[in-house]
């Protein structure tokens, strides 16, 4: 069964058609990739799925339920989590608090509990802290728990962002250029991390990437966008031989 079904998704900014008739069937547990030159509309697709922008047309269904029209935070609560191309951590907050924010809609206490700091509140906060810390441990960030997120080195910030996304308890994880700014060794580690995360959390993953090596290694199927349109779709092997893809990437330095 498909976890995510996107049908004829389109987005127009003024005169610019940023995304045109985007379609996607993402089976439960799959790991698919979305590639394309700069400005092809990839991040816009993520923004449409996660509700940052309302689409001009089309539908997005998660496990058969429509997401279009829901506010972004409701979409997250339904089980869609994401990371950002340019890391968007809560820089001035501690690493642990970055994770804890993800529990905001299931804290199990309300305003009165927070005002009084009663026994129920303390028990719930305790549980949240334990779960958050456990996540940090899984991502080997536990020793950093009380440091400010902005003080972490780049690679750890990327890891923290993925950990934070997982803390929302998603079914679908969207990764926007997770390997941006990474050296080849780090990319290798990232590939392992993503594979491991998918196994451990039984996730469905959809990722945008520029680095072909990562996409080819990792993704089961790949969709290619150019100027807002889907120009190819298939297995990595099919994509590397596709003439239109090669044309779209001609002159792009990422092709490897």
């Amino acid at each position: 069964m498909n976890l995510l079904e996107v049908r004829n998704l389109s987005k127009r900014f003024g005169g610019l058609l940023a995304v045109a008739d985007f379609n996607l069937d993402l089976p439960e547990g799959a790991l698919y990739g979305l590639i394309g030159p700069n400005g092809a509309g990839k991040t816009t697709v993520f923004n449409l799925i996660t509700g940052v922008y309302p689409p001009t047309a089309g539908s997005v269904k998660l496990a058969g339920r429509e997401l279009v029209g829901l506010p972004a935070h409701r979409i997250t609560q339904r089980g869609v989590a994401r990371t950002f191309q340019n890391i968007r951590l809560f820089g001035g907050m501690t690493v642990l608090d970055n994770i804890k924010v993800a529990f905001n809609y299931r804290t199990g206490y309300h305003l009165w509990g927070a005002v009084l700091h009663g026994p129920g509140f303390n028990a719930r906060e305790q549980a949240i802290t334990e779960q958050a810390y456990e996540l940090l441990r899984l991502f080997r960030l536990e020793s950093r728990y009380d440091q400010l997120a902005k003080s972490l080195p780049y690679g750890e910030q990327r890891r923290l962002e993925i950990a934070r996304a997982l803390a929302t308890n998603p079914r679908l994880l969207l990764l926007d250029e997770p390997a941006a700014g990474m050296n080849p060794r780090e990319v290798g580690e990232l590939v392992e991390l993503i594979r491991w995360v998918r196994e451990k959390f039984q996730l469905t993953v959809f990722l945008i990437e520029h680095q072909m090596r990562l996409v080819m290694n990792l993704c089961e199927r790949i969709q290619v966008m150019d100027f807002g349109e889907t120009i190819a779709e298939g297995t990595p092997a099919e994509i590397v031989d596709n003439r239109r893809v090669i044309e779209a990437y001609l002159g792009e330095e990422e092709g490897a």
Partner: protein
């Protein structure tokens, strides 16, 4: 759906306020009682009376301003917005409570919560449209509502209109302000060290990322704003029944600016800072009052506050205590003491 099972034991006692917090609360209570004893029995060192009416008056004003500044800090510090209409909610609290005592002849103990609730209700009504904007525009919208509130009061003859309104019973005293300010600080501190405080900071740090964490950003902004307005209304009720006279011109944006100076001097997102900022500015301005009037320069006192604000912004924009607290305020983050036992 997965669940993460905790595999280790955690230090539980650290979760609570801790002995430092209780000690601080105890010291505060002891100080308040000492001041009251000193006032009651007129303790003095030499010819100087320790708790003379002038000192008590200033301590009372500090208490009221602490409630105002600490609550404004929720919106301007933790949430990171720039709202400049706080004096409007102060006015709502002052006038609403006076309506209860003067027009309905009810007890002050009814008027006090009514003032706070009126602040909260008006805060809610203003927050609904105001948070459709952000940044400089939010500042303007909140200021605009402040001006409208004052303008409406000026046009309501039944509550004194442009002439002001007096005759409230003197119900606010030093000890009442001390208790209310202390409780307000505890409540605000508890909120800040809960999911609410975490989410407010997250919105300040990155609104879109917060939204992607499932945060209903609008709702959390409204909660912060309404709570701030609630406490401003509370302070207004205290103020009206302390001064026994209120005038629309006391609630313009000049009043808000005084609060902003104290807030930013103390530091954004710091309750300790708010207390510190209020205290320093009050002591500074009061001690200058005597000095300057000796040299016939009393008018120049009012130049000090804006200068302090400008100098802070240019040299130390985070304020004295920005994002930090005295050790007894925060909840300590708990860590496993030993390597987790694997199940």
């Amino acid at each position: 759906m997965h669940t993460i099972q905790p595999e280790w034991q955690i230090m539980r006692d650290r979760l609570r306020l801790g002995w430092r917090g209780y000690a601080a609360a105890g010291v505060y209570a002891a100080l308040v009682i000492l001041v009251m004893l000193a006032a009651r029995y007129q303790w003095s060192i030499g010819s100087v009376e320790l708790a003379n009416p002038y000192y008590l008056h200033n301590l009372t004003l500090i208490g009221i301003n602490v409630i105002l500044v600490a609550s404004l800090n929720l919106v301007n510090g933790y949430l990171g917005e720039f709202a400049i209409g706080h004096a409007g909610f102060l006015a709502v609290g002052a006038y609403a409570s006076s309506v209860v005592t003067l027009l309905f002849h009810q007890s002050f103990w009814v008027a006090l919560p009514v003032g706070a609730l009126a602040g909260a209700v008006v805060g809610y009504l203003i927050a609904l449209p105001a948070f459709k904007t952000f940044g400089d525009y939010l500042a303007i919208v909140t200021l605009g509502f402040n001006m409208i509130i004052v303008n409406i009061i000026q046009n309501l003859e039944v509550i004194g209109g442009p002439r002001g309104w007096g005759g409230q019973p003197k119900m606010t005293s030093f000890w009442l302000v001390a208790v209310v300010a202390g409780l307000s600080l505890i409540i605000l501190r508890n909120l800040v060290y809960s999911n609410y405080g975490r989410v407010w900071l997250a919105i300040r740090e990155n609104e879109i990322a917060a939204e992607m964490m499932g945060v209903d950003v609008m709702r959390y902004k409204m909660i912060a704003f309404v709570i701030a307005a609630f406490f401003a209304g509370l302070a207004g009720a205290l103020w009206a029944h302390y001064q026994q006279y209120i005038h629309p011109s006391s609630f313009t944006y000049l009043r808000t600016t005084d609060l902003l100076v104290m807030l930013y001097l103390g530091g954004m997102a710091s309750l300790s800072g708010s207390v510190l900022g209020v205290t320093i500015m009050t002591v500074l301005l009061e001690s200058l009052r005597g000095v300057l009037s000796q040299f016939n320069l009393a008018e120049w006192r009012m130049v000090i506050s804006p200068l302090v604000l400008i100098v802070i912004m240019l040299t130390r924009p985070q304020g004295l205590m920005g994002n930090r607290e005295f050790a007894f305020v925060p909840r300590r983050e708990e860590v496993p003491r030993r390597e987790p036992a694997r199940g």
